[in-house]
Symmetry: D2
Subunit: 322 residues, 4 copies
C-alpha cells in the first residue's frame, strides 16, 4: 500500500511496526525486545542486515536501538539519571572505534530558536568540552591517564546559514580529524504517543527523508569520512501524518461500523488505491510545512536534553573508543 511509505517517521521501530500491522515478513530485518519491568523501560533493537531489508525499511543497513521510557516526560530527576546510564551503555555498545585518546565531535543538529527542534543545540550547551584543554595542557591536566578529546558544534539550520549542515560538518572534520561523530537531532515520529518518551540510537548516522541511497545531505561515514552515531528523540509529528492516521482509522471504522453498516459494505467494494485517493484529496496542501507538538514542549525538551548530555558526559568520563 503505497501511501504507507509516504508517511514520515524517523524511528526504525515505527517503520517495522507498519509491516507487522500488515502482517508482512521483512527479509533481512531482525527485531529484539527487552523489557525492564521495574523501571518501565522497553528496549527494542532493530537490525537491518541486508540491502533488501534496507530497501524495504527505507533506512540504511545498521543497528537501531530504541529506548522507550514513558516517565521520561515527567520531571523525576532520579529516573532521568537511570535513563542516562542506560543510554550511556547502548552508546558504548554501538561504538566500533578502538583507540587510545579518542577524539569525539558532538554535533547538535536543529534550530535553537524553534523549541521542539532545539534538542541538539541544548545538549551541546551542557557538555564537558575538553579537546582544547587536553591539547593545551596535556591529558594529565584532566587528572586521568586516558581521556577523550571532546569537541562540539551546533551548526544551525540551512535557513540560518545558507549552507547544508553536511558541508559545515565535513569542513570541521577535515580540519579537526575526530575519530567519531555523535550527532543529536530532534525527530519526527509517526505516533504522538511516542513524543518525548523515546530515544533512538543508531550507528548509521543522520539520513534525512526516507534515508536510503546516495543522499548528498546525509551525515554518515560516507559523506563525512568518520563513523557517525546518531541520537534522536521524536519531538514532533508531521501535521499530514496525524490527519492521515485519523483518516485510516476512519476508513477502518466505517468498514466495521454497526451504525453505518451500509457505508462499510460500499467501501469494501473499493480498492486500496481508490481509498488512498480519497484520503489524499482531503489532506489539505496547507498542511505542508506544518508540524504538531505538545504545549509543554519547552519543559520536556529542556529535561530530555539534560538526560542526553548527562549520558554523553558519563560516556566521555569513561572511554568512548574501546
Amino acid at each position: 500500500m503505497i501511501e504507507k511509505y509516504s508517511i514520515r517517521t524517523d524511528l526504525a521501530l515505527e517503520q517495522k511496526e507498519r509491516f507487522e500491522s500488515d502482517q508482512v515478513e521483512v527479509q533481512g530485518v531482525v527485531l529484539e525486545e527487552e523489557v525492564d519491568e521495574e523501571r518501565e523501560i522497553k528496549i527494542t533493537t532493530v537490525k537491518i542486515e541486508t540491502e533488501n531489508g534496507a530497501k524495504a525499511m527505507g533506512k540504511p543497513v545498521g543497528t537501531y536501538i530504541t529506548v522507550e521510557a514513558p516517565n521520561m516526560a515527567v520531571p523525576d530527576e532520579e529516573y532521568h539519571r537511570e535513563v542516562s546510564v542506560e543510554l550511556m551503555k547502548f552508546l558504548s555498545r554501538l561504538m566500533k572505534e578502538e583507540k587510545k585518546d579518542c577524539s569525539v565531535l558532538v554535533v547538535g543538529l536543529g534550530n535553537r530558536k524553534v523549541t521542539p527542534d532545539a534538542l541538539g543545540p541544548y545538549v551541546v550547551d551542557n557538555l564537558n568540552i575538553t579537546r582544547h584543554i587536553v591539547r593545551e595542557y596535556g591529558k594529565y591536566a584532566m587528572g586521568e591517564d586516558e581521556v577523550d578529546l571532546v569537541s562540539a558544534i551546533a551548526p544551525g539550520v540551512m535557513g540560518q546559514t545558507g549552507m547544508e549542515t553536511v558541508e559545515i560538518i565535513r569542513g570541521v572534520v577535515n580540519e579537526t580529524k575526530p575519530d567519531v561523530i555523535i550527532a543529536i537531532d530532534a525527530l519526527a515520529a509517526r505516533s504522538s504517543k511516542r513524543l518525548n518518551r523515546t530515544i533512538q540510537i543508531a550507528d548509521t548516522g543522520i539520513n534525512p527523508g526516507s534515508g536510503v541511497g546516495n543522499h548528498r545531505n546525509a551525515i554518515t561515514e560516507e559523506t563525512v569520512g568518520v563513523p557517525v552515531l546518531a541520537i534522536g528523540v521524536p519531538t514532533v509529528v508531521d501535521a499530514a501524518t496525524i490527519v492521515n492516521d485519523t483518516m485510516e482509522n476512519f476508513l477502518a471504522a466505517l468498514e466495521e461500523s454497526e451504525t453505518l453498516k451500509g457505508v462499510g459494505v460500499v467501501l469494501q467494494g473499493y480498492s486500496a488505491t481508490e481509498k488512498y485517493e480519497l484520503v489524499k484529496e482531503l489532506i489539505s496542501p496547507h498542511l505542508n510545512g506544518l508540524f504538531v507538538t505538545p504545549k509543554d514542549i519547552d519543559e520536556t525538551v529542556k529535561r530530555i536534553s539534560y538526560t542526553v548530555s548527562e549520558a554523553l558526559n558519563l560516556l566521555f568520563s569513561k572511554r568512548t573508543c574501546t
Copy 2:
C-alpha cells in the same frame, strides 16, 4: 450542529464565517469589510452589539478589527512598516480614554520559551519604555509637551509562575494605576491559512476559551479595573481542529463523491449527530494538548513582533489617550 462550537478559534472573523457557511443570520452582529487592493490588506470589522449576539458568537460585546495581510509572512521591511501604520490607526480608533499624560501598561502574554507563544514577550522586548523616566525627570525630559507613560510586563504562563496571569496583572494595575492596558497574545486560528498573516485588535480584552460569561481568568475591564485593548496574532491551530476539518471535508466529499456514490447515499441517511459521533470517536485523545505550527515559526514570530512593537511605539510617540 453542536460540534462546530467545540472547535476553537480566537478570531471573531472566523466565528462569523462559520455562521455564514451555514447561512445562518446572527442577530446583533454587524460585519464591515474594506479592501486596500494596492497593498493587499483586507480589513474586517465585526461588531457584536447585543448580548444575544455575544451568546451566539461565543465572544463578548465589543469591536473586533481583523487585518489580513498575506505578505506579512514575508520579510519585506517596507511592507511591515505600512502594516505598523495601519495597526497604529486602528488602535487609536478603539481607544476610548481621554486624558492628558496617559499611562499605558503593555502586557506581553504567553511563554517566551515556546516559539509560537513568544509573540507577546518579544513585542515587550522592543518597546520604548518611558514611565520611569517621566516619573523621575518629568515629561520635558522626553522633549515633548504631552507624553504617554509606557510601562510593560511579560508575566509568563501559569506553568512557570504558579499564578493566574490575571492575578499578576490585577496586582500590578492596583499598584501602578495605568489608564489603559494593551495586551498582546498569540492566538489559535481555525484555519492554517490565517497563521502569521492576520492581526486581530479588540476592545474586549483577553477572554480565554469561549470567552463569554464570568471567566475569572479573563483579562478585561471587569477583572482588572481598566479598559483592555487586545492585539492578537494567530500562530497555531489546535491539532484537534485540523483533524476535525479534514473529517468534515471528508464527510462532505463522501456525500458528493461520484466514485463512492453509494457511500454518500448511505451517509445521507444519518443525522448530524450520528455523523458527529463518528468523527469524535476517531479523533484521538492523544491530540489534546497538541498544537500545529509552521516550521519557520521562529522567523515569522520575530518579524511580526517587530511590526506590532513598531505600531505601539508609533502610537505612544503620538498620544494614546485622546
Copy 3:
C-alpha cells in the same frame, strides 16, 4: 576615613571586614565563623542586633549568613549538590513562619539579558512550581500530606518595565497572599576574589544601595507586607571599586616603599582627607555605570543558578514553614 563608606558592597561580611582592617570595634554586631575543612566551605554569620550596629554597617538589623565555597566556580556536580544541601539548611534556619501548607513566592530579580545579572531569572527557570496544581487538584495531587505552594516571578528590571520592582512584587503579594518571599539577586562584591564563590542569605530582604532607612524601593517586610528572605551571589564588582582598591594599595605601598622612600615620607605628611581627594580626582567619571565581571560568567552563573534552584527545590519538598 570617609571614602571607605562610599565603596559599594552588598555583602555584610565585607562591610564587617572593613571595620576589622581599621581595627574598629562595631557595637551591636556579632560575628561567628565555622569552617568545614573537608569540603572547604566557610560559613560566616553576621548578626546586626541594634540600630546603632545597623547604622555603622549601613545594613538593616538582621542575620546575614555567608557561605564561601571556592570550588563553587568549578564544574563539580557532586560538590554543588553538597552546597545545595548546606544552603537548604540555612534557609530553613532563617525561616520564621510556622504554618501548614505554606505558600512561598520566589522572586528572581535582575535582568535576564545581561549575563552576570541573570542569576535570579535563571533560578526561577528551574524551580518546581506547584501553587497552581495544589489549588486545582488539592495537595494530595502532589502525593504528600503537607506541601508548599510554590509560585515564582522574574519581574525584569526598571529599564524593561518602567516600574519599580517593588511595585510589581507588592501588587502580586496583595493578589496571591504568599506567607513568605524568597528573593534571589546578583550582588556587587568589593573584592573580585569573592565573585561566584560566595552566597549570602539574609532575613532582611533586598535593600538597594546602602540599605538603611526608609527606602521606598527596598523589598522587605515593611514594603511588601510579608517576610522576605534574600539569597544573593556576588557576580560583579563596581569598576570604581576596583580602581579605588588599587589606589589604596598604591598609597600604602608608596608609604612603605624602599625604592620610593622619599615619596612615602612626603605622603605621610598628608591627611587621610587630602589623600582621598587625590584618589577621587583620578577616578574617572566614565567609571559610573560600569561593572567588572569574569569572562566565563556565562558558565558560572548557569552552574550557580542550578545550585540555588536545587537548594530551593529541596527546601520545598520538605516543609518551608515549620
Copy 4:
C-alpha cells in the same frame, strides 16, 4: 615605555593616539580624519603601509577605518539607519574582489551567552541569508540579475566548541568556497569613552592579541585562504587597562600636584621602568580574565547589532564584489 604596549586595545586608532600622546612620529603609518559635523560622525582612516609601521603599531599592514558616532549609544532609529549607510559605503570601499555572483561568508564571532560578546552572533541572526535559495532556485528567484550568495555562521568560542575558531572557519571555507569573509567581533577598547559608539572596519582580518606575525589563530587571508574584512565594535575594556590608566593619571598628577609637590619632586627622580614596576605590583593578579562593561550593555549590543546587520543587508542587496 614598555608598559604602554602591554595595554590591550583592538582599535588601530587608539594605538595611534598612544604614539601621538608621546609625540612619537611613526614611520609607515598614515592618518586621515574626516568629520561630518551635522551628524556628529567622525571618520578616521589609519593606513599601515610598511612592515616597520606594522611592527610599531602591533597590527598588520592594511587599512583601518574607524567610525565614531557618539549617538550610536542612543535609541534613535533614524540615526542608526544613517550609520548603516555610512558603514555600507566603507565596506564597499575596502572590498577588493571583482566578480559576478559574489559569494560572501559572514562570521559572527564571540559568545552568544555573554552579553557584551554577543554582537557577532546577533548580527548573524538578522541577515538575509540567500546562498541556499540561489543554489536551489537560481539567482532569478531573488528577482535580480546579479546577486550575492550570502551564507553565515556563528561558530561559538573555544570554551564551547573545544576548537579554535579558525579551524571551524577554514573547514567551512574549504567546503563552501566563498569569495570573501566578513567577520564581526566585539572588541576591547582602551578607553571606556569609546564603548558602544565606535565601529572599526579593517581589511586585515581578525588578529587576536597584539596581532603581528604568524598567529595560528588569526582569521586572515593567510590562515583561511580568502580575503577577510573585519567589523569590530568595542564593547568592553580589560579590567587591567582601566586600573593602569588611573595609575598613569595618578603618577602624572603626583608629578604636577601643587598640594603634593614634594611627591612630584621625588617621583621625577625615578625612571619610567621604576614607575612601571610600581604600577605592576599594584595591579592585582585577580584582574586577569576580568572585563569592564556598561550596565545597559543588553540594549546597546542589540541596537548596534541591528545597525551592522542593516549595513550588511544593504551591501548584499547591491553588489558586494565589484
